[in-house]
């Protein structure tokens, strides 16, 4: 199935959508991400990723309110679906397993 794989950036975006919970739309996701990653982010990249996530059915969207700031246009709000949550859990588990299995010597013993 196409949705089984999560790219690194997709994972970040998906996490951010989860984090922003009820206010996850592209501009918010983008600002949140650029603050946290401390690098500028293009709207296009975020937008495309969110579209892709929706195609993979990891998120679902609905239209939110329209504001004057947006020239009267509505924003599209995203929420993580069950499949999305499962994909995130999966990714997290794989990482945790990987971390757990790294031998102590690998990082010069700094990891106890």
């Amino acid at each position: 199935m196409k949705g089984a794989q999560l790219g690194e950036f997709e994972e970040l975006v998906l996490l951010t959508i989860a984090l922003l919970y009820d206010n996850a739309y592209s501009v918010a996701v983008m600002e949140e991400l650029s603050n946290r990653l401390e690098r500028p982010m293009s709207l296009g990249a975020v937008h495309r990723t969110m579209q892709r996530l929706e195609e993979k059915e990891l998120v679902q969207s609905r239209f939110g309110e329209s504001t004057a700031e947006r020239g009267g246009r509505r924003k599209r709000l995203f929420t993580v679906t069950a499949a999305g949550e499962q994909a995130l859990q999966e990714a997290r588990k794989i990482r945790n397993d990987l971390w757990a299995d790294i031998p102590n010597a690998a990082f010069g013993g700094s990891l106890a």
Binding site: S42, L43, Q51, R73
Partner: protein, 899 residues
Amino acid sequence: MKSRRTTHNTVQNVKPPRWVNWLMERITAPHLREELQGDMEELFHRRVSRYGTNKARFMYAWDFLLLVHPRLWRPEPEPTFKPRYTKYSDVSKPLSFHPVMIRNYLKLAFRNLIKYKGYSAINIAGLAVGMAVTMLIGIWIQDEVSANKHHKNYETLYQVKFNQTFDGQRGTQDAIPFPLGDELKAKYPDFKAVAMYQRSEGNRSLIVGDQKFLKNGIYIGQDAIDMFSLTVLNGDKNPLKEPYSIVLTDETARTLFGNQDPIGKIVRIDNSVDLKVTAVVAKQPANATLQFDYLLPWQLQEARYDWVRNKAKTDWRNNDWGVFAQLKEGIDPAQTNAKIKDVILTHLAANDPTSRNQVKPEIFLHPMAKWRLYSEFTEGKNTGGFIKYVRLFGIFGLFILVIACINFMNLSTARSEKRAKEVGVRKAVGSGREQLIGQFLSESILIAGMALVIAVVIVLAALPFFNTLTEKAMTIEFGNPLLWGGTLAFTLFTGLLAGSYPALYLSSFSPVKILKGTFQAGKGATLPRKILVVVQFAFSISLMIGTIIIYQQLEHGKNRPLGFTKAGLISVNSSKSLLDHYDALRDELMATGAVSSICKTNAPPTQWWSSNSGWKWKGANPADESVIFTTIATSYDYTKTMGIKLKEGRDFSREFATDSAGVILNEAAVKRMGLKHPVGERMRWANRDWTIVGVVPDIVVEWSPYRAVAPMTIIFAKDWVNFIDLRINPAMSPSAAIDKIRPIFDKYNPGFPFDYQFADVEYAKKFRYEELVGNLSAVVCLLAIFISCLGLFGLASFIAEQRTKEIGVRKVLGASIANLWGLLSKDFVQLVMIACLIASPIAWYTMNQWLESYTYKITIHIGVFVGVLAIALLITLLTVSYQAIKAALLNPVKTLRSE
């Protein structure tokens, strides 16, 4: 405070750049547009308060650029019907160049083709003929341009040429003295290889067993095999090192030995020397400059001829040989030229410090890349050559293609009224302009594609004739991907070019006007269409004028008074045994009654093979020593055999023993020398005194019949001859005469096949290029007229159709058929006349330039232009009348019934 106020202003006043929004509305998929624009604007307003207006605007545009991605303009992916938007304008449009749409366009185009069969036939036929001609010309140009490129050393090969000044004129020749080759090779490290060569003078006889063949070959240095990258198919890789060897081409080997292995076999040449076949090489392609049936080793000349061994090897004054040279990689030929420039001068000066220097001999390298197309020299400068014909036909090809494309455009736009309704309906049901453009372009590309198929068939069918016409052996290499790529690109280009105007024009109609019925396509399109017709006819008419002038010039040359009678004159390339038995041969030939006169000469009647300077005469100044006299060496009965009427004096005669020191001049010589009473005057040349015994008119034996006749000396030198000229008894047919002559030659010349040339045939060969250009341009011109008329025919039929109602009304009101015919033809006649006015000065100028290169030429007569105008008008009237009369004959009851 400031930032707060800015924020306030933002929402109220500051707007993002409008052009970005404009672009965005055009390229983004509708289902994404709202949120994207919202996002962008929100970001913009935040940025205005954060960074200020300018930066925000910049970032807005920048963001947009980063947004550009296929995902953005791809229509909604899933097929499920789940309308997110309800606004009409948001319904997603199909993409203009989606494969599905293209299939649709092609289907429509095909249906339209079927529906309007006549129109389609005219269009396809016109384009096909145009494309076929362009393709043939393209193949021809390709053949010319790629000549010699098969040689691996194409870039580094040169022929040594040589400038000398005679009588104030700098002439260029490729005959150089014998020692030059060795000198270049020995003293100049720039050269990688040097090969001397001697072109055969006519054919040689090759004898194998009891079979005799006439074949053309060259004495050439052994370096030539590698220099010209000749493919040794069989035998020694360096086959010319032994003097008594011969290298055959595969073709010659098959002729001589059939399927036997020729290596080591013996070939006897000129019935005097036995040579061993040392190698077989591949025959050169037809467009190569170096052509031969066999090669002979350079050293064989020394082995065979005493005078080469004893004299020529050190003689810097006798220019009789050629030399090919190959420069080492990376050597600049200009530098080498500078080094070798004075080689001959240095040697001449060493022998003869005074007289020879004034000819200022200067040698230089002529690169292989220029051998074919840039071989003409004027005043020592390379001034082009055959390239002028290549350019001429390149232009012809373009003309034809333009004419064919114009037809297409005209017919398509003329038909616009018919299709206006279709366009209107299409637009009304939601087809955008892009879709219409797409449809029209697909239609024209489809037509071009069909025309291409027909054009390829025409090219395949015409290639054999075209090869005969151009004396070539061109083929189409079907395995060549470049050819296919080129052809497809060419078709696409033709289709786009031909379809561009109708596509843009037809798609611009406003549906409202069309459907309301107020639309009139004719008005807006008339002017451009008229201009196109004028342009088209201007092209055809200039081609017509050009062809006529080329033809006139050709005829002018052919009918030039020669000063001798070429009919019934034959020449035989003679051999030692023929010359040894000349007197007996002559007596027997005369006894047959087939020959009325016979003489010996040093060149065939329509050529001269020798020229000399250094003649002195009474009243000549020292500079006159560089006047070049064409020299004909002959025996008794020269003027009688040639059919020359003497102006003054007499021919050489057996009754005057002193005639062995006699000379006959032509009128050009008398004029150049400034003699009042030439007969009896004395001249000095080659350390001997010569007495002028007669004057002949200016006989045309020049290599080009369009050149002015040079001064000529005819001297009596019975040993300096290679040819026997015969005048056939006029009472006898040439073939009967040849039958009588042949056994006598065979008797005295056992080692050679009887080889003879008719002077009139040889003279006709001098018109090869003009004949080629004449024939080609006649064909191109006829086709151009044909295509133009095809277009005119189609156009006339549409205009007649357009005006059926008008014609009906006029008829009802009493107009005669002649009136109506005049009405419909008038427009076209006007256009053709304007085209003629435009074409005439251009054609006149171009053809005048073309004629400049001939000394013996016609002057362009005004009648040509009048004639061409008359022909063009006649053709136009014939073409248009059919449609006009057809329209005029229609019954008005039928055409007006619907009103």
